[in-house]
């Protein structure tokens, strides 16, 4: 049986791991390769590395980092941040990335999804959506939730799928950083709508939250950062707990 995936996410700036709480107040938490290897040994099913560096120099550092990650890790990993053209994706593929994730660039230029899927295959393309709910309406946002896009979440997710996305990574900005649980209602609605896998992000604070995510949120994978980085939840404990809850886990 296909397992539900547990995915730690590492934010990278200038080659170092950071984690923003609600995308603000960044704190250092270590070397990405060492952290990634430790997660892999602990049973992480996949890893996501998001480059939040804005400078050109930082971008080059990130590609070099991706090579080191690919050489050292024996599980799949996704890289994201600053990918707006085919050539960006090509450099990351050549460095050894298994998948790339695009967010704002897909909103600004939806055809980028088609182009990436055509050139590299759908399995290489994760479309990340940061969305916020207000008055029962979910809207996709850009730049860490600061800029509304006018795109309704569910129709945008479906459009991304039909353009060739291989997976959707949905972060609820209402839940991100709160540690009060995932946006299960919206996630279940999206999972029912999609035929491609759905990764859920935003709100993980306890092991019960992951059980609820897979039971009620119907997601295929759960992503979290700070609770793993700061040792609040150990991945072996989480997997043991979920297995006991009857959830299919590696």
């Amino acid at each position: 049986m296909l397992s539900k995936r547990i995915i730690p996410c590492l934010d990278i700036r200038n080659g170092q791991t950071v984690k923003g709480v609600n995308f603000i107040n960044i704190r250092e938490v270590g070397d990405p390769v060492e952290l990634g290897k430790r997660y892999s040994e602990q049973g992480a099913d996949e890893l996501v590395f998001l480059d939040i560096t804005a400078t050109h120099e930082g971008r080059k550092t990130f590609v070099e980092l991706v090579k080191r990650i690919a050489f050292n890790l024996n599980i799949p990993f996704t890289v994201g941040g600053g990918i707006s053209e085919l050539s960006d994706a090509d450099a990351l593929l050549a460095a050894g990335a298994d998948k790339i994730s695009i967010n704002s660039s897909a909103i600004k230029n939806p055809k980028l999804i088609d182009d990436l899927a055509h050139h590299f295959g759908s399995q290489f393309v994760v479309v990340a959506i940061d969305a916020r709910e207000e008055n029962n309406h979910w809207e996709a946002t850009m730049h860490g939730g600061r800029i509304p896009t006018g795109k309704e979440l569910f129709s945008w997710a479906k459009e991304a799928e039909s353009r060739g996305a291989g997976e959707i990574l949905f972060t609820s900005m209402n839940h991100d950083g709160t540690k009060n649980g995932f946006a299960n209602e919206a996630l279940a609605k999206m999972s029912e709508l999609l035929t491609i896998p759905l990764i859920a992000s935003g709100g993980a604070g306890s092991m019960e939250h992951f059980a609820d995510l897979f039971k009620y949120g119907k997601a295929d994978a759960g992503l979290a950062a700070s609770i793993f980085h700061f040792g609040e939840i150990a991945i072996p404990d989480l997997k043991h707990y979920l297995r006991n809850q009857g959830i299919s886990i590696r």
Binding site: L2, A70, N74, Q123, L194, A221
Partner: protein, 203 residues
Amino acid sequence: MKVVIIKYNAGNIQSVDYALKRLGVEGSITDNHEEIRSADRVIFPGVGEASTTMAYLRSNGLDTLIPTLKQPVLGICLGLQLMCRHSEEGDTECLGIFDETVRKFVLQPDLLPSMKIPHMGWNTITDLKSDLFDQSLDGQHCYFVHSFYASCGADTAAICNYPTPFSAALQKNNFYAVQFHPEKSGTVGAKILENFLQLKINL
């Protein structure tokens, strides 16, 4: 030991090379026929689309070379599919090393949202019938990413269910193939690659 990774227009060959390096083996990535023929082990990896990759193999004569190789050959993912008889992807005649055919997973509305396509993530391999595996690997998880699958048949060497059984691995004589990515399947995958490198050859 000389290990060759066949170079063609398929993605993520680099990961296989890295996996070999982690096992202490320096592989070479090449499409040179002589180099491929003289290697101790040949790996035929690949992520891509069947008809365009088959067309490329034909244009380089690799379609006639690969089926005549005598040393252990390991196909991975698309490599496995191209070693079958026919693929529904682009209605493609493949290398015909294995008699199995490759079909597309069909969306079954009653199985959504649990059965998404592509089949992506960690799933178990069972019913192991090959010296590529040892029995400790039965029921272990491997990492899969694919929308097409080889049906079960005479050459099936491991089974995976999604939700019906398909060939997670195939073997016929010196030809081995796995649908999952051993280079991305953690310690389980590393063990399978190691087994492939250590196969006893009876030429």
